[in-house]
Amino acid sequence: MKDRLIFYGYLAALVLFSLTHNEYILGSAIVLAIILSGKKRVYLLKKSLLSFALFGVGVTLAYALISLLKSQDLTFLASFNLRIFLFFYLAFWVIEEVNIFNALPKKLSFALALAFSTILHYKKSFLDFWLGVKSRWPGFRYSYWVKSLKAFSFLFINKSLHDSKEMGYGMRSRGFFDD
């Protein structure tokens, strides 16, 4: 119940702060979020700043440059950037605090959990595969890369076809399905 409340509160906050263009309200929301997030605030700040730098800085610098050339007002940038930063901070905070699988509707949560666990498993296999093939290359060549990519495609498509059947049998035998 707690997960669901926080998650829906988060969704409501996203809509609410999308409708707010006052930089003082957005700034206060960031300060409040930082205070309430407790000991995780340094970690959350680092992650949010990194993501903000990746997405927000380019747009901000380009707009600032154009505005200076055209002598336009720059105040819009304050609310734009504060909102983006606030949303990154809230997103990372929610991921830390909420078990998303308890918060979402049952069917969606089930599909997400299944996809997420398979993704994690494939991600590890993917990293192992490329570490393995790269260690066998005497140096980088596009011909080696293309050959490895073909082997990768064959292996993972085959794997996904077999895994889906095995996963289905395994889950049915444990009573997950009723069809």
Binding site: F76, L112, K150, G168
Partner: protein
């Protein structure tokens, strides 16, 4: 290509959520999802996720990432690919905070829907003329058309969400955004086309059972 939260106005993201929701509802009804299908979609999602992780080494030490949407659409069909890629985007948004939650609808429409369907139908349209060109064109469009759609969504923001001429969200017009997004994606699209063709040709030769139903 994902748009993060805060870049687009509520009127845009609510409309996009509505469109994406309707398409997902139709796709799940059409796919008649049972126990076998849901595990297949989970595996297909994981497969598309790892395809997106493949780094294409570029001269100068940089790299671009494969999308894999076209390859999966050609092998597994556009509706399955649409559902699988949408699941990946949802996992990325809800569990990794990559791509926004408010913008998930736009990202699903662009990357999953336009990406899968443009690749599949371009291939279907051109395959009788020249199969290789059909695969390459499909893959090229699966990258460039979503980029164009994203550029349109971002570029329309100054028109739909501004107060006294001052933007409230993404500030650049369509022309500027389209140039900024399309130029790199035209190059990525060509690379995607070449790589997709190489994998498609290889799989068709060594894994023909995949293509028997088509």
């Amino acid at each position: 290509m994902h748009i993060p939260d805060g870049f687009i106005s509520p009127s845009t993201f609510i409309t996009a959520w509505g469109g994406a929701g309707a398409l997902l509802f139709y796709a799940t009804k059409r796919a008649d999802i049972d126990s076998e299908k849901i595990t297949f979609l989970a595996s297909l999602s994981a497969l598309s996720f790892v395809f997106m992780m493949v780094a294409i080494p570029l001269p100068g030490g940089t790299s671009a990432h494969l999308s894999g949407v076209a390859l999966l659409a050609l092998i597994f069909g556009p509706w399955n690919t649409f559902l699988a890629i949408s699941l990946v985007l949802a996992v990325e948004a809800f569990l990794f905070a990559e791509g926004g939650v408010t913008t998930l609808g736009v990202n699903i429409l662009a990357i999953s829907f336009i990406g899968s369907f443009s690749a599949y139908y371009t291939y279907r349209l051109l395959r009788k003329v020249n199969e290789k060109a059909a695969v390459m064109s499909g893959a090229f469009l699966s990258v460039t058309l979503p980029a164009l759609f994203i550029a349109a969504v971002l570029g329309v923001q100054p028109l739909v969400a501004s107060i006294s001429g001052e933007p409230m969200f993404f500030p650049f017009d369509f022309k500027t955004t389209a140039i900024a997004l399309l130029v790199p994606h035209l190059i990525i699209g060509v690379i995607e086309g070449l790589v997709t063709l190489a994998i498609y040709t290889f799989l068709k030769k060594s894994f023909p059972v995949l293509f028997h139903e088509r």
